[in-house]
């Protein structure tokens, strides 16, 4: 095999794993959309917020310390040395559940029967609010997040792939970040758990019922509001997982919330209501944008990753508006 060919494989592999990361965010969108018909733009900011909170707990930050210091002239920053990873994660989950409950109580409850597009715009408002809140609680500086997931290149894989090259070429082996490998594993685990949950538990059945038909679900005694809190909690946990992965990879910072924007074309490709769609859509976008950047990027000045996913989604929409796995829409009057 020539080095060029091996490079292409490396690009595809990295694309696949980047795709998994996109899928993780897209998954949160799909969950909320299926259960409530809300397109939750704030999903990306939820990931940022969850990651910020996790770091805050880990390092023992006092929430709102900047604001408190400003108001009362105090100098508090930390309440202690921080806490163990597991406890911090559990506490963050609690925070995300409380957050879900508050969103339902303060926003969603008042917006029943609004048009989807109004709800969408409301979640943009929610995203702004949470972004401000997260920064105000934990500070806007870039933080490193480490929950013990190995990272860095895999030497073993480099050694293995180095032997694949044909005689007479210089080749240093493929680079694969261990973090990406673990992220893939965790994503697979998460999807499995979610699938089992929705197939084999009572709550899961209720969730699917609500996704199918709100009114019918109400008539058989399912509480829509409880379901919404549950769904937003699950989406919050998914956001936490995504936040941990992206945060470990590139630090916890404002740009983390922008991954939400990357997840949108993933959804368009996969359809808004399909979990397998979100995963495959993520993989297609991941591989597509890496390959495009690898092949076409150098010819047009690079940085095509900024827009490739959207333009791909745009073309896709022209031909299959319902997404890869969405159902064909028959309009009725």
């Amino acid at each position: 095999m020539t080095p060029d060919f091996l490079h292409t494989i490396e690009v595809i592999l990295n694309g696949l794993m980047a795709g998994v990361m996109y899928s993780l965010v897209a998954l949160g969108f799909v969950l909320i959309f299926k259960a409530s018909g809300i397109f939750n733009y704030a999903q990306g900011v939820m990931a940022l917020f969850a990651a910020l909170t996790l770091v805050g707990f880990q390092t023992g930050q006092v929430p709102f310390s900047h604001l408190i210091n400003e108001l009362f002239g105090t100098q508090i920053h930390h309440w202690g040395p921080g806490m163990n990873n597991l406890i911090a994660i559990l506490l963050t989950i609690v925070v995300m559940i409380v957050f879900a409950w508050l969103v339902e109580k303060l926003v969603l409850q008042h917006m029943v029967n609004q048009e989807p597009i109004i709800l969408f715009m409301a979640t943009i408002g929610l995203a702004f609010f949470m972004e401000g809140l997260g920064d105000l609680m934990w500070g806007a500086d870039i933080k490193t997040l480490d929950v013990g997931i190995p990272s860095g290149g895999s030497f073993w894989w480099e050694d293995v792939t180095r032997t694949w090259v044909s005689e007479g070429y210089d080749y240093y082996g493929m680079y694969i970040d261990l973090l990406d490998v673990y992220a893939t594993g965790i994503a697979v685990l998460l999807v499995t758990i979610l699938t089992l949950f929705s197939q084999f538990t009572k709550t899961g059945r209720a969730l699917r019922a609500v996704a199918d038909d709100h009114q019918a679900a109400l008539t058989v005694g399912i509480s829509l509001r409880t379901i919404w809190v549950i769904v937003w909690s699950i989406a919050g946990i998914v956001a936490l997982v995504a936040g941990i992965m992206w945060g470990s990879k590139s630090g916890v910072q404002f740009s983390l919330s922008l991954i939400a924007l990357k997840a949108l074309p993933v959804l368009i490709l996969g359809g808004f209501t399909s979990i397998p769609g979100a995963i495959i859509g993520g993989l297609i976008i991941g591989v597509g944008e890496k390959l495009f950047e690898f092949w076409i990027g150098p010819l047009v000045g690079g940085a095509t990753e900024n827009w490739f996913a959207y333009v791909l989604a745009l073309f896709f929409l022209m031909f299959r508006p319902q997404g890869l796995f969405g159902e064909r829409i028959i309009e009725r009057v």
Partner: protein, 358 residues
Amino acid sequence: MFYRESGDFKTSYIQDQQIFPILQDRVFVIAVIAFAFLVVPFLINDYWEKSVLLPVLIWSLAAIGLNILTGYCGQVSLGTGGFMAVGAYASYKFTTAFPELNMFIIVLLSGGVTAMVGVLFGLPSLRIKGFYLAVATLASQFFLIWLFNKVPWFYNYSASGQINAPERFVAGIAVTGPNAPPWATYLFCLILVVVLALIAKNLTRGRFGRSWMAIRDMDIAAEIIGVAPLKAKLSAFSISSFYIGIAGALFFLVYLGAVEPTEAFGIDKSFLVLFMIIIGGLGSILGSFIGAAFMFLMPVLIKNILVNGLGWSTDIVAHLIFMIVGGLIMFFLIVEPHGLAQLWRVTKEKLRLWPFPH
């Protein structure tokens, strides 16, 4: 008590179709416009020009543009920043290629170029709706900004990759560049904004406006009545982009003077304009002005109070502003989806009856 329409009878359809059917409103609006043209230019200074009047005027124009598309035609767009960039770069290319061309014509041409780009990116709206379309418009946002960053022709191969507004004159007085007097830039923008707002009002109250609203409210019924979706949607996209393009051109030529695309026309600008029309009022030209003024001035005011008044640090205030903006958006969508313009209308209804509410 004095604000009422009783006795103000309409005896012809022309009278009934006026933009401001109530006499007091008409007098008030004419007074405001007269004040803006005849008094403000003598009082204006650098601070008022750069910090208040120019940005509010320019953002109002962008808000009118987006309101035509989103408020009237119901097509949500997140590509406003990208379209403003098209207007800005078109005006840059025109001013540098044709230095003698009248500035009003340059600005209108830039709007025209943006309208064409708008139609191109509006094509998917024929197949897709709602937030699918909103996501698709993101493609224009990211692609256009990338294009202006990467293709040197757009910034005339300048080393910095920035574009700078050259000094240009209207009737011998500079309206762009560092030496332009505040009153000149202000009047230049004011003329455009007033005329374009009037045109927008005319369009939205007539046949075109009704076809847009029909598509917004019930697209299937609209089509069965005889509104061609292609024509209605694409005309909304092109006219909306025309306004947004002109806003972008003014933003660059008159207000900023120098522009780096990612900084000046990023996705945050798309959201800003969307928030302006949500808070001001979807489907209201007046609301576009109110929303633009509110969204631009509210953070300035808060900053002035908290940072300059109470001495808080700027980043804390910035975060607070984020929270306030987000909170307000949710609040308005829950309580009054028609925004401040509707609140104003309701107040007027009450005022008419005051002091006898029943």
